[in-house]
Amino acid sequence: MQKKNLNAIIHIEGRDLRSHIALALKILEKINLPEKEKEFLKLVIFYHDLGKQEVFSTKENRIQTIQTIAKGRLFQTMALHATAAGDKIEK
């Protein structure tokens, strides 16, 4: 990392987005909550990063990723992903 001028790797969530979601769902499963609440949270957790598919290859996001790496942080940014897949989630 030092050789490459990197000081941080951000967002190590597992092999990929799917494994992050799978891990989050596993964690949710272990939390003591009423079943109905859990079902609702499962839905949110399942889709909460869906917008990343929409934004990862946009021009703005590429620029932001390059800027982040230039600062020494190895991180694929996902700018505005939280709001990027609203209509798809509903569908």
Binding site: M1, Q2, L6, N7, A8, I9, I10, H11, I12, E13, G14, H20, L23, A24, I27, L28, I31, L33, F40, L41, L43, V44, I45, Y47, H48, L50, G51, H81, A82, T83, A85, G86, I89, E90
Partner: protein, 230 residues
């Protein structure tokens, strides 16, 4: 489904606890629900989602040549009590800012109309004042060496800059002292209201000038002597 979507759309707003602008804070929270209960429910669920997301996320840092694992602290700090307190503590300051803004907006909106009326009433109807009477906001009729704008625009801008005073004062203690003084009242009006009014009318005496500005400049005298006393 709409509620789930709302949570997803807000799951990256984890820096709320660092926000300082009360108006921004209140505006954000009121977008989370129609009433206190809805807002509280949204915060509660968001806190749960962020906590789970936090547990399922890890950062790796290189510190002093050693690899270090850490969590996204912002997400763990986003707990129901802390976020609710942040919202509640911003409500009163935001209301105060809103009340103040109303005063500025009212004064700024009325300024031009008020001062034009006063100018029409005060500028003496003489041949040498013809141009000044036709355009009391002409910068050339003000004192161009000292003022970039005409009397009316200058007065309006003074209210605008008064409203932005906190951007110009760096010392937090001084800001607070000034803000608290401005809340004191005289005859039922806050000093802030009275000062905003004073800024609007502070130069009306200039409409009663002794001689045209261009002439006064030629002979090197002030075109508006004693204007502050009129």
């Amino acid at each position: 489904m709409k509620f789930a979507q709302k949570l997803i759309e807000n799951h990256m707003n984890t820096s709320i606890l660092e926000w300082k602008d009360p108006t921004k804070i209140v505006r954000y929270f009121t977008s989370l629900g129609k009433n206190k209960e809805e807002i509280a429910e949204t915060i509660k669920r968001l806190a749960q989602v962020l906590h789970i997301d936090y547990l399922a996320t890890e950062n790796v840092f290189l510190r002093n040549g050693e690899i270090e694992y850490s969590k996204n602290i912002k997400r763990s700090d986003y707990n129901f009590d802390a976020v609710r307190d942040k919202y509640q503590s911003a409500i009163r300051p935001a209301e105060k800012i809103e009340r103040e803004n109303k005063i500025y907006v009212e004064r700024i909106n009325n300024c031009e109309k008020d001062l034009l009326q006063i100018a029409n009433h005060l500028i003496p109807l003489t041949a040498e004042n013809n141009e000044f009477g036709n355009n009391p906001d002409d910068p050339q009729e003000h004192s161009p060496q000292r003022h970039e704008f005409g009397i009316i625009t200058h007065s309006k801008k003074s209210i605008v800059h008064f409203s932005r005073r906190n951007q110009y004062i760096k010392d937090k203690n001084i800001k607070e002292k000034i803000d608290s003084k401005l809340q004191e009242t005289i005859d039922g009006k806050t000093k802030l209201e009275l000062l905003a009014t004073a800024f609007e009318f502070h130069d009306i005496g200039k409409f009663l000038r002794n001689m045209p500005t261009s002439e006064a400049q030629k002979i090197g005298v002030d075109p508006f002597p004693g204007h502050e006393k009129i």
